[in-house]
Amino acid sequence: MAITGLVVMPAAGMGPDALRMRLEGLEGLSCFGGSEDGSLVYVLEAPASELESRLRGISEMEGVGVVLPTSVNMEDELEADGDA
C-alpha cells in the first residue's frame, strides 16, 4: 500500500471548511491539516497503481481547485517493515 501526501487547494470562492466537507467520506483519505491560504493536506492510502485515477477523480470534483500530488511514497519502507 502506498502512502502519499496530497495537497488540495480550493477553487476560487470556496473556503477550507466547505472543501473539507466535500472531501469527507472519500475512502482512504484522511485530512492531516490545513494552511493559512485554505489549502488542505491529505494523506492518501491507495495502491500506487490507483493513485493517478484517484487524483484525477478528486481534481474533477466541483469546487476543488488544484490537486498537487507530492509523490511521497512510503511503500518501500512499509514493505520493509512488513507493514504493507
Partner: protein, 759 residues
C-alpha cells in the same frame, strides 16, 4: 508521543506534502514533533533557480533541519526538495579527502594529501601549457557554484593563464535565454521580477513545467489564480503536465513547433489590431538577418513577414486548432497585464534564441512590458546560473558584467581593472561546452578542471563525451562533493569542496536577486571552500599573486561588486554587510542606500534610467536605446521524426529529483517516491505497439538505445515519449542529440527522433 510506524509514515507524508505546498502548518489534525534548534543561519536553497531563502537550523554544530526564510521572496515557502536539504550534507558518500587515480583510467581512486593532489594537478596543467599552449587546458564550471567561485575561476583562467576555455553547464540550460535577452534588449537578464506574478492577469507559460521544476513559483501563480477569477493561464506544452492541469487554455503543440505558434500569435495580434502602435513605434526597432548581418526593417516588413503565419497554416504545423491560436493571442493582448514564463522547453533547442526572441516580440508589439504584471521572464534551472555565471561572464565568449571577449574595448576595461598588461586576455573566444568536450575527444584539450557539475550524466549524446573523458591522455580534475557523481568514474584527481552552507557566498536567482548563503556548519574531513582551492591552484601555477589576493569569498565579492560599478549590471550598493542583514537584493543597485530594482528600463524604477528622461521606458542596453523585434522564421528541429525513427523523445525533471540526483538521490523520501526512470508514452501509441503499463520498452535513437519501464497515460501527446534524466542507472542522455543552437551553442536536449518498441 505514542505512534505506530504507520502513523509516523503518514505524518511524514503529510509534513512533506506541506513542504511541497510551501506553506507552514496553520492547523494540524495530528501532533507534530518539534526539534530543538540552537541557531538559525540564513541562506539560499541549493536546488533550482527560484532562489528561495532558507533558514538552516543548527544544533551541536550540525544542520538538523531547513525551513523557509519568511523575509525572502518565497515568504517562508519551500518545496519538498528544499525542506529536505539537511540530510544531503551528511550523505555517506561525501568526498572528504583528496584522491588520485592510480594505474591509469581503469585504475582505482586512492586517498592522497592535498599537497600530493595539487602538485599532480599543477604539474599536468603546466606541462600541457608548456607543450601545447594555454588553449590545451580548460575550466568547466556550474550554475551551482557561488558567484565568488565562478568569478575567481574566470579571472584565473582568462587573465592568469591566458586561456578562454572557460565554460560551464549554464551553456546547457540558459545560453539561449542569454542570447534572447541580449539580442532583443542589448543586455542579459529579465527586466521583471517575481512580484510581477502577483499582478499579472494572464500567464503565458511556454516550455516550462513550472509545477515540478519551480514548485514555489507555481504555488505563487496558483494562488494568484485562486484569489482572482479573472486571471487566465495559457500553457503551451506537448505534455499535459501538472502545470497544464491548472491552465484555462492548454496548447498541446507538436514538439519543436513553438516558433510557428509564436509567430502565429503575432500574426493574429497585428491582423486584429491588438498591437500597441504607440508603444512599439516609440520603443522598438524591427530587425532581420540578411546575409548573416542584422538589418533594419519596418513595421510593414514585419507585418508582411507574419503573413506566412496565418492561424490555419500554423494550425497545420503545430497540430493545434486555429481557433486556439487566435484565442491565445486575444487573451495575451486583451488581459490588463500579461507575464510570459519559459524554461528549458524553449532554451534547449536548435532554435532556442529565436524562440526566446519571439516571446519578447509578443510583449514588445503589445506594450506588455515594464508595467506590474507585464513582462517576459525566463526561469532558470540552477541556483546561481544567473548571478554566478551569466553576470560574471564565466563563459567562453564573455567577460564580467556583460562584456565580450571579442570586443577590444571590453578586454581593455577588464585588463585595466584586473591590473594585468594590455593584451593579456586572448582576443578569441574559447571552446563552448560541446566544443570543449569535442576538443578533449580529439586530443586537443589535455587538462580540464571541473567544478561542481556532472557532465558524464548531463551532456547530450553522452557516450561520445564520456569517451573523451576516458582517454588516457585526458587529465580530468573534479572538485566534487559526492562520491557517486558519474563523472568521478573518469577523474584522475578528485578534490573535496565545502558543500552549500559549509562556506559563505552569494547566489543570484532568476529575478536578479542576490542573496547570501551563510556558513552554518563546518565542512567534513579535509574538505575546504572552493575559493581556497582555486587560490591554491593559481598560486601553485605561478599566477601573479596580485591577481588572487583573497583570504576568503568576502574579498572576492567586494572586488566583483566594485567591478560592476558604472556598468549596466551595477550592484555596487550590494555590500556583504547588506546581504547579511537583508534577505536578498535585486540589481541594479548602485548605492548602499538603494533598495534594489524590480523593473528594469523603467523611469523611476531603474536607477540606470535618468530621472529626467523624457520617456517612461529607456532600453539603454542597445546602441539605438530601443528594443528589437526580430523576424525569426519557423525552423524544424535538428532531428525530426521520420520513417526509421518515428517518435520524438523529450527529457526533463520530475518534482522529486533535481538534475542528476547526486543530492536528491540521498534523501529517502525523494528516492522512494521516484527510485527509477521510466518512459512515459501516450495510451494510443502504447495500444498500437502492444505496450502495457510497466512493460519494458526499448527506445533507440541514432546514438544509442535503452530499456525502460513504460508509464502509459494521457500526459504525452501521440508521437511523443518523455524520460526524466535524473537516473544514473538509465543515462537517457546517451540517446539525446548534441546539435547546438547556431547563436547560443546550447544543445537541443528537448527533441530527438527515436524508435519505440516493446523489449
Amino acid at each position: 508521543m505514542n505512534q505506530s510506524r504507520r502513523d509516523f509514515l503518514k505524518l511524514s507524508a503529510a509534513a512533506t506534502a506541506f513542504a511541497a505546498l510551501g506553506t507552514p502548518f496553520a492547523w494540524s489534525a495530528s501532533p507534530q514533533g518539534q526539534q530543538q534548534v540552537e541557531k538559525w543561519v540564513k541562506g539560499v536553497c541549493r536546488y533550482c533557480g527560484t532562489g528561495c531563502g532558507v533558514l538552516v537550523g543548527v544544533t551541536g554544530g550540525k544542520a538538523i533541519m531547513v525551513k523557509g526564510d519568511p523575509n525572502n521572496h518565497n515568504e517562508g515557502l519551500l518545496c519538498l526538495k528544499g525542506a529536505l536539504l539537511a540530510p544531503v550534507i551528511y550523505a555517506p558518500d561525501r568526498v572528504t579527502q583528496p584522491m588520485i587515480r592510480k594505474g591509469g583510467k581503469k585504475g582505482q581512486l586512492a586517498p592522497a594529501s592535498w599537497d600530493e593532489a595539487m602538485n599532480l594537478v599543477v604539474s599536468k596543467f603546466k606541462e600541457s601549457i608548456a607543450k601545447n599552449g594555454p588553449e590545451s587546458v580548460g575550466y568547466y564550471g556550474s550554475g551551482q557554484n557561488l558567484t565568488e567561485e565562478s568569478y575567481l575561476a574566470n579571472k584565473i583562467f582568462k587573465a592568469g593563464l591566458k586561456c578562454n576555455n572557460v565554460d560551464g553547464n549554464p551553456r546547457l540550460c540558459m545560453a539561449s535565454a542569454v542570447g534572447g535577452y541580449t539580442g532583443s534588449f542589448g543586455k542579459d537578464e529579465p527586466m521583471g521580477s517575481y512580484s510581477d506574478m502577483d499582478a499579472a492577469t494572464c500567464f503565458f507559460i511556454v516550455g516550462s513545467n513550472t509545477s515540478e521544476c519551480h514548485p514555489v513559483l507555481f504555488k505563487r501563480i496558483a494562488s494568484r489564480k485562486q484569489k482572482d477569477k479573472q486571471v487566465k493561464i495559457i500553457v503551451a506544452d506537448p505534455r499535459v503536465t501538472n502545470t497544464a492541469r491548472i491552465a484555462d487554455m492548454h496548447l498541446p503543440l507538436k514538439p519543436g513547433t513553438d516558433l510557428a505558434l509564436l509567430n502565429g500569435m503575432a500574426h493574429v495580434l497585428l491582423k486584429e489590431e491588438l498591437d500597441d502602435n504607440r508603444f512599439h513605434s516609440r520603443y522598438a526597432l524591427f530587425k532581420a538577418m540578411e546575409d548573416g548581418k542584422p538589418v533594419d526593417k519596418s513595421f510593414e516588413d514585419y507585418r508582411k513577414f507574419l503573413e506566412d503565419y496565418s492561424p490555419e497554416k500554423v494550425g497545420q504545423i503545430t497540430g493545434l486548432d486555429p481557433k486556439q491560436i487566435i484565442e491565445a493571442a486575444r487573451l495575451f493582448a486583451n488581459s490588463p497585464s500579461t507575464m510570459s514564463l519559459w524554461c528549458m522547453g524553449l532554451n534547449q533547442r536548435k532554435w532556442g534564441v529565436f524562440a526566446n526572441q519571439l516571446v519578447h516580440n509578443l510583449h514588445l508589439i503589445t506594450g506588455k512590458i515594464g508595467k506590474p504584471g507585464s513582462t517576459s521572464f525566463s526561469l532558470t534551472g540552477q541556483p546561481n546560473a544567473c548571478g554566478g555565471v551569466r553576470d560574471t561572464g564565466t563563459l567562453s565568449h564573455l567577460l564580467p558584467a556583460g562584456r565580450l571577449i571579442a570586443n577590444p574595448e571590453h578586454r581593455a576595461q577588464v585588463e585595466k581593472f584586473w591590473g594585468v598588461p594590455e593584451g593579456t586576455i586572448n582576443p578569441n573566444p574559447g571552446y563552448h561546452t560541446v566544443a570543449m568536450f569535442e576538443a578533449m575527444g580529439q586530443g586537443k584539450l589535455k587538462c580540464m578542471l571541473i567544478l561542481c557539475t556532472n557532465p558524464a550524466q548531463s551532456m547530450p549524446n553522452a557516450k561520445k563525451y564520456t569517451a573523451a573523458l576516458a582517454r588516457e591522455d585526458a587529465f580530468v580534475v573534479c572538485i566534487e562533493a559526492f562520491g557517486d557523481a558519474e563523472t568521478l568514474r573518469y577523474a584522475d584527481v578528485v578534490l573535496p569542496p565545502a558543500f552549500w552552507c559549509e562556506r559563505e557566498g552569494v547566489y543570484g536567482c532568476s529575478e536578479r536577486r542576490y542573496s547570501l548563503v551563510g556558513k552554518a556548519v563546518d565542512p567534513p574531513g579535509q574538505a575546504k571552500p572552493s575559493v581556497n582551492i582555486l587560490v591554491d591552484f593559481a598560486t601553485r601555477m605561478g599566477v601573479d599573486p596580485k591577481l588572487v589576493p583573497y583570504k576568503d569569498s568576502a574579498d572576492v565579492w567586494d572586488e566583483w561588486r566594485r567591478m560592476s560599478a558604472g556598468t549596466p549590471y551595477n550592484f555596487a550598493g550590494i555590500t556583504r554587510e547588506r546581504l547579511r542583514k537583508e534577505s536578498g537584493i535585486l540589481w541594479p543597485c548602485p548605492t548602499e542606500d538603494h533598495p534594489g530594482t524590480k523593473m528594469r528600463y523603467v523611469r523611476g524604477e531603474d536607477p540606470l534610467v535618468p530621472a529626467d528622461h523624457p520617456d517612461r521606458m529607456f532600453f539603454y542596453g542597445t546602441p539605438e536605446k530601443k528594443a528589437y523585434v526580430w523576424m525569426r522564421p519557423h525552423r524544424p528541429a535538428a532531428e525530426e521524426p521520420d520513417a526509421d525513427f518515428p517518435f520524438v523523445l523529450t527529457t526533463g525533471r520530475v518534482i522529486d529529483h533535481w538534475h542528476t540526483a547526486t543530492m536528491t538521490g540521498k534523501v529517502p523520501e525523494l528516492r522512494n517516491a521516484f527510485p527509477d526512470a521510466y518512459v512515459e508514452l501516450n495510451e494510443a501509441d502504447a495500444k498500437k505497439l502492444g505496450i502495457a503499463n510497466g512493460d519494458t520498452v526499448r527506445l533507440e535513437s541514432r546514438r544509442g538505445s535503452m530499456d525502460l519501464p513504460a508509464k502509459v497515460g494521457e500526459v504525452c501527446r501521440p508521437g511523443l515519449v518523455f524520460v526524466p534524466f535524473f537516473d544514473k542507472k538509465k543515462l537517457i542522455n546517451d540517446l539525446t542529440n548534441d546539435a547546438v543552437d547556431d547563436i547560443s551553442k546550447e544543445p537541443e536536449f528537448k527533441i530527438c527522433a527515436v524508435k519505440v518498441r516493446k523489449a
